[in-house]
């Protein structure tokens, strides 16, 4: 049974995309900037002309940490990794926080090429994103 915190979807297009194995990011149709997580208007040019687009899911590790002390159900997982992964589409604008799957802790390093993976949470209506090698 999954006992870790789960998000309460409000931005349904994003969470529906995860279920279809798509990682959707708002892109500004006026200036082209990608801006995850969503804001109602582009954070660069303030245009409301935004569109959700699926990105490739390819990313590089910008930073990472191995957490040895976790809250709640995360305590059973220590050490677990949290990474900041820069999407290749626009690495200056899109750094995504994620847990990892299928990456040995000792292999994690800055600059590592990873891709976004998807995990359906059993018994819940949520699919989460992870990064994997």
């Amino acid at each position: 049974m999954y006992l870790k915190p789960l998000p309460t979807p409000a931005t349904h297009v994003f969470w529906d995309g995860l279920r279809r194995r798509e990682f959707l990011v708002p892109r500004c149709n006026d200036c082209g900037r990608y801006g995850w997580i969503p804001y109602p208007a582009c954070r660069k040019c303030q245009s409301e002309n935004l569109e959700w687009v699926a990105v490739s899911g390819r990313a590089t590790i910008y930073s990472y940490t191995l957490v040895h002390r976790g809250a709640g159900a995360f305590a059973a997982d220590v050490p677990y990794a949290i990474v900041a992964a820069a999407l290749v589409e626009d690495p200056t604008a899109c750094v995504v926080l994620a847990n990892t799957t299928g990456i040995a802790p000792e292999d994690l390093h800055i600059g590592m090429e990873v891709s976004i993976a998807f995990e359906d949470i059993p018994g819940e209506d949520i699919t989460l994103w992870r990064v994997t090698s």
């Binding site: 995850w36 930073s63 200056t92 899109c94 750094v95 926080l97």
Partner: protein, 395 residues
């Protein structure tokens, strides 16, 4: 329009006991702190006509939700008199804003206060639920993140970019602990000095941050009374004048931050520090004592860089050279800071209390000789995202 330099002054400060305080409530700590600071200023509670509140000071759950809840609660609690000035934000920025307000006649006696008991910031005491808790959709708890892992991400990237080591980070904790041993009011001073090996040998919390790289998480409260320079001169204590101050914010959520975490032009901390120095009309070399918001060792290093005391990537060397230790050119966190002094939930006013006491010459074994000008700092909210600085002075 110039900042009203030396037109306002801190007339009283107070720091409650800090540590594990199981018999206290947040309210009782706040009330004790307000009463204590007002008494030190030689005033009555009825003199207060401005309230500078910090996060988590609300007491009426029924009303929680408005940004002014805490001001409203305390306005009633202090007698239902018209309070003429209310503000939010980090402590040093609130001192700056209230100074401008007092100089403009909006109020005359503003009190900054905070107190917390019985809450914990980290995973300590958390239990495993019987069902997955539902949280806001962009909550970092979904990834098992909390403050320490996020600062660890920041630290890991910093170590990578600037060829700094965990041992370099540890030097900060060593200095803080040394200062704490000279401060009888510090939480960790009685445990004695520590070495770099003690820090890197302590339990790993989130790589590369060890237990001793992290701030404390204890109970405690404090208050600061700001008034006109004229009125402060009537008090029992030497007035500590406000020369300038500023605040800045650029981040929202921790979950996603744009790349380039260390831009050469800086962000909010650089901006607030530059503004504070410009408004105060003093230079970095004029600072005799620095109250730094050093919630993790990495934060302390970044503070020196962004506040203009050394170049980007050079803070570890700056600390190793001894500049931040008592006796150095920039004695910092002389109370032990947030790592060894106290971190009572929102400790952003504690550096102000310590710098005020240093400038008054009240610090005993840890006194900076002839300290005349001090700098206070506060930061937080998605690392260096919401910040403020103030520059204080005595005649």
């Amino acid at each position: 329009m110039p900042f009203p330099r030396r037109q306002t002054a801190i007339a009283g400060v107070y720091r409650t006991a800090q540590g594990k305080l199981p018999d206290r409530s947040a309210f009782s700590l706040q009330l004790e702190a307000i009463k204590g600071a007002i008494a030190e200023a030689g005033m009555q509670l009825s003199d207060i006509d401005g309230l500078m509140t910090l996060s988590g000071s609300n007491h009426h759950q029924a009303q929680a939700g408005s940004p002014t809840d805490t001001h409203q609660f305390w306005a009633e609690q202090l007698g239902g008199r018209p309070i003429r000035y209310i503000s939010l934000g980090g402590s040093s920025g609130q001192i700056a804003k209230a100074s401008a307000a007092i100089a403009a006649g909006l109020c005359e006696v503003a009190v900054l206060f905070y107190g917390r008991a019985g809450q914990r910031l980290g995973p300590g005491g958390s239990t495993v639920p019987t069902a997955a808790p539902r949280v806001p959709e962009w909550s970092w708890t979904v990834q098992g993140a909390y403050m320490t892992p996020f600062y660890a991400l920041w630290a890991q990237r910093y170590l990578h970019e600037f060829k700094v080591t965990a041992e370099d980070l540890a030097e900060v904790a060593v200095v803080n602990r040394y200062h704490a041993t000279l401060n009888p009011e510090s939480v960790m001073g009685r445990k004695g000095e520590i070495t770099v090996q003690d820090v890197v040998g302590s339990r790993m919390i989130a790589d590369p941050l060890h237990l001793l790289d992290c701030s404390l998480d204890n109970d405690g409260g404090y208050a600061v009374v700001l008034t006109t320079a004229e009125r402060a001169r009537d008090g029992a204590k030497k007035p500590v004048y406000v020369l300038g101050g500023a605040e800045a914010v650029h981040t929202d959520l921790y979950l996603s931050q744009d790349g380039d975490w260390f831009p050469p032009q800086g962000r909010s901390v650089r901006r607030a520090a530059d503004d504070a120095f410009a408004l105060a009309g003093v230079s970095r070399d004029d600072i005799d004592v620095f109250g730094s918001y050093d919630c993790f060792t990495i934060t302390a290093l970044r503070n020196y860089e962004e506040m203009g005391f050394c170049e980007l990537g050079e803070a570890a060397a700056f600390v190793k050279e001894g500049h931040t230790r008592l006796g150095g050119k920039l004695p910092t966190s002389t109370d032990g800071g947030l790592l060894s002094g106290s971190h009572c939930g929102d400790p952003s006013g504690l550096p102000i209390v310590e710098v005020v006491r240093q400038l008054r010459g009240e610090c005993g074994a840890r006194q900076v000789p002839d300290a005349k000008i001090g700098l206070t700092h506060q930061q937080g909210y998605a690392v260096h995202g919401l910040t403020s600085a103030a520059i204080l002075a005595v005649d």
